[in-house]
Symmetry: C2
Subunit: 554 residues, 2 copies
């Protein structure tokens, strides 16, 4: 007798869909009086949150928001944004978290793609919206979210203010039930090239991502844990991959939450102290800004997850010396973003040097994530800490594609796994380490050489100010590394010195012999992108065009 | 522009199904060398587990097991059972965990309902199977799972021994992908009346239950927590609601696991000590047996969740005085079983009396569970710690019904919520407390009186050996309580004494005045069920039939 469960029996219940509103069930029981604080000034309880989410839903429905419509938000980190995280998807509508750091033209493009029924905007962004002039006229309902009293009427079609609309709405709203595949959120990624691409996440995906976040963070012994006794403050914007999804986790657990408004290092530190914040996340730049503030030296008891850029050993060391439990998360807009967390195993917390190495890695996979390191034929590479391949992943919460972009979606998911475009190694103890971007790695002699590794070694030379290593086509080896070096003022280091330096690392087994560049070229500067990163694409183009200049000299 | 996500875009990935095999992804990365121990003698690693799961799947496939087929298991708690927890569902087949404590006739009924393709049996159960004689002949493939050397050939159609089949199978098996609604497990509940009823759980449900277990246990500060540093040993059988699902949680986290075989108090205590067990679960009877063992007095560092029957304050106190972190879980076969856990809030761990009260309650809802206390019109009752109503629940992992039983399934899910048949209160701080079974509660004067409450008070009388309070039909009040009392030898307590005792509790607001019985009847004994519980159904029948005997006296 087979019993596969595909044909439901009569009288049996249908499977219950996973919906974001379910994340509010247990905190309402656990901690109805727990606080949600905005900028240290406004204090709400979870009981208030539940009521305000219902009022907001009623207000949005009254403005004509229907299932499948988009509601766009432009705000700093606030209790209002948290209310939108729940009310908009719980209505069956799609929350668009607008990246307010994009250029006006890019923002216009992203809103033009989604055509929101309502735009909720902090008045700080009125000048930016006004700059778009007539082009933004497709938005015909703007709700302003001012912190204080009346704001100057903008040229936008304002239909009301947030608090007024909530006050006018009913305290109770009966949220509909709908399929769990209903889209809950959307936002745009910003690559270095091309137009922003829209990723999107369903109710099912947000719920599963939240559960995996909790299961991964809370089960970690020794350090880096999150539980019901923590106090949370985001320092990665809520428009950036839902502040890494942590507001959903914090709310589901009913912990105290602190929303800091626009980030200012001094205020963040004041809030951390006055509200007893124990858990935050940010990019390295903000961590550095906070550490550089003069007034606070002891930051013991603050766990901070770092992502978005490389956390250097030096910055990690500095944060730890100030008492911060600092470690890394790895993911991207496409991955919701949870994939890896650099939690350190208990038995490796004994050795400070090893511990530091592990804290700055990408880490170990979250529960339910399948992470692989593969070659260009999608074959698994050994977990030996050496073999390099692209990091590809599957997890139930990864974006299904880019909206309206079948080509980019197909290549994102080539072979049934999401391609991160990052090159990584996998250690025997299970830690993943990102070593390069796929487009920057140098494929030579059957090996993948990390340009970053070679750059790190060359940078140790005392006469080097800056350097970039790029792969250039080679008939015999596929590609060969070439080093472009900006010497320190008045210096003119010799190629032999670099070969010797790199040779030492080869002999110690830390670098493949294929990684020693064929050529070292001294240059005056390295081309940068608009955000200040070295632009290797441009460097490769310049190198191609100017190769004749360098001729055949060795 | 609407964007509800129902029509997938071209080039986009399909939603990834939730499958039990995903629970093996992260432990394989985290802890491949971690141990799984059987009876202190056999030691495997998670690496071994993964290989043995693949070999077992290959062996079962070779025996003809196909998707939707049932594979039944009869074993004590073992590493083999854990392997079946994964291999059988991962094949797409249904794992039937046979309750070996049922009578041969009941076991025969349950196997007859599922008709397993293969039965995996510990030789300890050969006599039991032989007892079924010709009636069990529909099972034509039995695999024996002996602990030691050869076993006597039974009359059953044995096709091999577990270890031999694993050794003969390939080390690698490519598990298929299938819809997440595919049934993973089934087993039978045993009420006090009628035939056993089969509940069932899908891959999706097991995965979600596991995530909620982890998220609920791991986020608890102060006590009762489970994390990656714990060592787990079940003391509720694996055939009983998957040992409450904890083996799935323990495996997903890659913790050390200890499987004790058949339960013997002394061996359980020895294993706890020698293997460093920190987390277990059991019924009160086993806890009592272990506490009564003479050799071990200090059991500090052992967390034990109690379920299946009421944990008395006295037993909880005794366990705590021996160093055990004891608390309760609430659920049932139909609920997979997670619904509530009596974790105590940090701020209530200061007051020992209050703490003890909370530890013996049903507790607070697990993440994603919606638990309500309702009257017979499904209206919510206030969370005031007093109002009594039936506890009903929704969660994505509750059984969809009873196989082949549409009527019982419909009443289980009446009104869209699963009916537990338990009467509970809900405190302002969010704790649920079970006060009675729905069928035993006395509905009188518009109130629901807990028969258990009245019994507890009457039992305080020094001349009472045992008592039961039942509701009897009453024209005016609907029902009225009647107390059946077994006095201590040589005693003949008066009705007035009971009325006075109960009256004191009424005046202190601890009992409704409707709870004072109309009649106190001294009896020689109280009818019991086969498992030793007072049989109130029988008592009500006897009372009905014998009412003439008691006449109208007051």
């Amino acid at each position: 007798m087979t019993f596969a469960g595909e044909r439901p029996e009569p009288g049996h219940m249908q499977p219950q869909p996973l919906l974001i509103r379910q994340l509010l069930f247990s905190p309402a029981c656990y901690n109805p009086e727990q606080e949600i604080v905005y900028r240290g000034a406004l204090r709400l309880t979870y009981r208030d949150l539940r009521e305000r989410v219902q009022r907001l839903a009623g207000a949005l429905a009254a403005l004509g928001v229907r299932r499948g419509d988009t509601v766009a938000v432009m705000d700093w980190d606030s209790h209002r944004y948290l209310e939108c995280f729940f009310a908009v998807p719980m209505l069956g509508a799609v929350l668009q978290t607008v990246n307010v750091r994009l250029s006006p033209q890019q923002i216009l493009f992203t809103l033009g793609q989604t055509r929101p029924t309502v735009l909720l905007a902090n008045p700080d962004f009125i000048p930016l919206l006004d700059e778009m002039g007539e082009d933004i006229r497709f938005i015909d309902r703007v709700v302003l979210m001012p912190d204080e009293a009346p704001v100057p009427a903008p040229r936008l079609p304002v239909v009301g203010e947030y608090e007024d609309l909530l006050a006018a709405a009913e305290a109770r709203f009966d949220f509909p039930e709908f399929p769990e595949e209903t889209i809950a959120t959307t936002f745009h990624t910003t690559g270095t090239t091309g137009l922003p691409k829209a990723v999107y996440f369903s109710h099912r995906q947000i719920v599963l991502h939240t559960l995996s976040l909790i299961a991964t963070y809370a089960t970690q012994p020794g350090h880096g844990r999150f539980d019901r006794s923590d106090v949370y403050m985001p320092i990665t914007p809520m428009f950036h991959v839902h502040a890494w999804g942590i507001p959903f986790m914090a709310t589901a657990l009913g912990v105290k939450q602190v929303y800091p408004g626009r980030y200012e290092a001094r205020r963040l530190l004041e809030l951390q102290q006055s509200e007893g914040v124990t858990f935050s996340h940010c990019v390295p730049t903000i961590l550095k800004m906070m550490l550089d503030e003069p007034d606070r030296t002891d930051l013991t008891g603050w766990k901070i997850v770092i992502g978005g850029a490389v956390l250097t050993r030096a910055l990690a060391q500095e944060a730890m010396s100030r008492g911060i439990d600092v470690f890394c998360g790895y993911g991207m807009s496409e991955t919701c973003p949870l994939l890896l967390i650099s939690h350190v195993d208990l038995d490796q917390l004994d050795d400070p040097a090893e511990e530091l190495d592990l804290r700055v890695m990408a880490g170990k996979p979250a529960i339910l994530t399948e992470v692989r390191i593969v070659d260009d034929q999608m074959r698994d590479l050994p977990a030996d800490g050496m073999a390099r391949g692209e990091l590809v992943a599957r997890a139930p919460w990864l974006t299904r594609g880019y909206r309206g972009n079948p080509e980019a979606s197909s290549s994102l998911w080539e072979g049934g796994y999401l391609h991160t475009g990052d090159i990584a190694t996998h250690s025997p103890k299970g830690y993943f380490k990102i070593v390069d971007r796929l487009k920057d790695v140098i494929k030579t002699g059957g090996e993948w050489i990390s340009s970053v590794d070679v750059e790190d070694i060359i940078s140790m030379h005392p006469q080097v100010s800056e350097c970039a290593v790029i792969g250039v086509p080679d008939a015999k080896w596929g590609e060969r590394p070439v080093a472009l070096i900006v010497p320190k003022p008045g210096c003119a280091p010799e190629a032999d010195a670099f070969s010797a330096l790199l040779g030492e690392h080869v002999s110690r087994g830390q670098l493949s012999r294929f990684g020693i560049p064929d050529r070292y070229i001294l240059v005056e500067e390295l081309q940068k992108t608009s955000v200040g990163k070295i632009d290797k694409k441009k460097l490769r183009e310049v190198y191609d065009q100017s190769q004749a200049l360098f001729g055949e000299e060795q």
